[in-house]
Amino acid sequence: MEKQYASDFKISSSPHLRGKESVPKIMYWVVGILMLPVASSIYFFGMNAVRILLISVIVSLLTEYIFLVSRKKDISLLFDGSAIITGILLALTLPPGLKSSYVVIGAFVSIALGKQVFGGLGYNMFNPALVGRAFLQASFPVAMTTWIPPVIQKMVDAKTFATPLGGFKFSHILTPYKNLLIGNTGGSLGETSAILLIVGGIILLIKKYIDWKIPTGILLTVFVLEGGLYLINPEKYANPLFHILAGGLLLGAFFMATDMVTSPITPKGTWIYAVGIGVLVVLIRVFGGLPEGVMYSILIMNAFVPLLNRYTRPKILGEGGKK
């Protein structure tokens, strides 16, 4: 039924002005900045990177679409950019030689289990890309830890190749810093080039699309703990700088742990969350059975976010004052 209106004026509650930010704008900015590690992955891993990235993004969008349609939701949510981010992030955490079918499974699980079963954007408890990655890791542990060297490194034995962290943990080999910075090492698609990750992270920090407390907290904690261990026994433990540059720490600290939906909403909670991730990373890297633990650390701290939010309410202006 057509509604009749007495006047042309719109009525609403205050405020009548709105800022310029919007959810898709934030999402597409992040997508744009993710192009930095994407570029490095394509440069170092060539067609493999392109293949994995494309499959991951397409399957993510497709899964999202299926859920939106079957739940009779607004289809335009498909283009809010969040599914694309999940697709790219998942791809960036995968080893470059991974079979396409695994990528499909991973992307599907990311969106379906990581996001849509909770009700879609804004409601998920865990970082969707990492849920997909953890599922793949548990399903196909061998394939997920088989690394191939970057295409520009003309290696004879191209079948297997160790990541810097794996190399250190199992063979005690330190990858040169130059390689770590540029990205000329083994590893998952997006984690190798430290320099691009740092640049991207800094842009996000300037745009305030990520909370500065999270990367700061994580990196400082790792640096301090690893530094302490290094001081105790430089023979056994690696230089803290190596730990920060190697592996997925930068990718995790700037792009994964900072996922708005799955990080705490209170400042104090955010600090605890960040430090918690740092501690777990060191714990798993140094004492655990796996060389890398960024993914697990973030997922575990994601689980604590509701509790952190609940118990770290900031002090209201004037709270506790005498009346």
């Binding site: 009749q4 209106y5 006047s7 042309d8 009525i11 609403s12 509650s13």
Partner: protein, 285 residues
């Protein structure tokens, strides 16, 4: 053989030990709970609707036993439950008449204009906070369906015309919708009561006529046509003061009402010679 004996001794000793401990504990730590409470709680429908005024059935049961609360407050349970509680409490139940929620507004989208395009939270209670709602009529139904959403028994649906429709079969008279509605459109009435004023507006006639085609304009015709005293003119609004007195003598007033603000809730129940009264509110298809 010895294994068997030892088994029996061991288990027996253990059992005895714990039996003694528990027996002592039972005496020392016993908490008295009136069995009547549990019994009544078991009877109550467990809808936890809060219609009785207590948070949950168990609290109502406790209140009946401990505070002597009336036993006829469970609307969803109806007479049946009241009788059962009465049996437990050893009382004679006072009969409760079934009441249902009814909609005191006919300000359909077509009849009552809105002020302007409203942007914001789409619930009646939130809309009501923005300049007392977006309907031009300050008394009218806002039509965002809070009653539909809050009704625990799915008895209310919003019609295409933008008004709530109450399914009187399903309605238990719990009164949640009455509480929820920011405009007090809904009110509980005995189910047998048939005559009703479908308007709340106490605005001066000129104002109410300007904002809603179906508003009561206090023309007084229906009151004059009704010699039995069933109706009275209130503050710019007719009031049904004694519904049982609205007899055949008064029916003429309904025909004469210029806006249809006074009418039967169930016109089909009224046998009349020459006039068929249209059914006012249609259920959503």
């Amino acid at each position: 053989m010895s294994v068997l004996i030892i088994s029996i001794i061991t288990l027996g000793a253990l059992a005895l030990l714990f039996a003694v401990i528990l027996a002592i504990a039972d005496i020392k730590l016993r908490v008295e709970v009136d069995p009547k409470i549990e019994e009544i709680d078991g009877i109550l429908p467990q809808a936890n609707c809060g219609g009785c005024g207590y948070p949950g059935c168990k609290n109502y049961a406790t209140a009946i036993v401990n505070k002597g609360e009336d036993i006829n407050k469970c609307a969803p349970g109806g007479q049946e439950i009241t009788d059962l509680i009465a049996k437990i409490m050893g009382l004679e139940a006072t009969a409760t008449e079934k009441v249902v929620a009814r909609v005191h507004c006919r300000g359909t989208e077509e009849a009552a204009k809105r002020k302007g395009v409203y942007e914001g939270v789409k619930t009646c209670r939130a809309v009501a906070l923005v300049g007392s709602g977006d309907k031009l009529c300050d008394w009218g139904c806002l039509g965002y369906g809070d009653c539909e959403e809050e009704c625990p028994f799915d008895a209310i649906t919003m019609t295409d015309e933008g008004l709530p429709y109450v399914d009187e079969e399903k309605c238990t008279g719990c009164g949640i919708c009455v509480d929820v509605c920011p405009k007090d459109i809904l009110e509980l009435h005995p189910i047998d009561e048939n005559i009703m004023i479908f308007c709340r507006s106490q605005d001066p006639p000129k104002q109410s006529r300007a904002v809603c085609k179906n508003a009561c304009i206090a023309c007084n015709i229906c009151v004059r046509k009704c010699p039995t005293g069933a109706l009275e003119m209130g503050n710019n609004l007719v009031e049904v003061v004694e519904p049982e007195k609205f007899t055949e003598e008064c029916y003429g007033g309904i025909d004469k009402c210029p806006t249809g603000a006074i009418n039967f809730v169930h016109p089909e129940k009224i046998k009349r010679e020459n006039k068929t009264v249209e059914i006012i509110i249609k259920k959503k298809e």
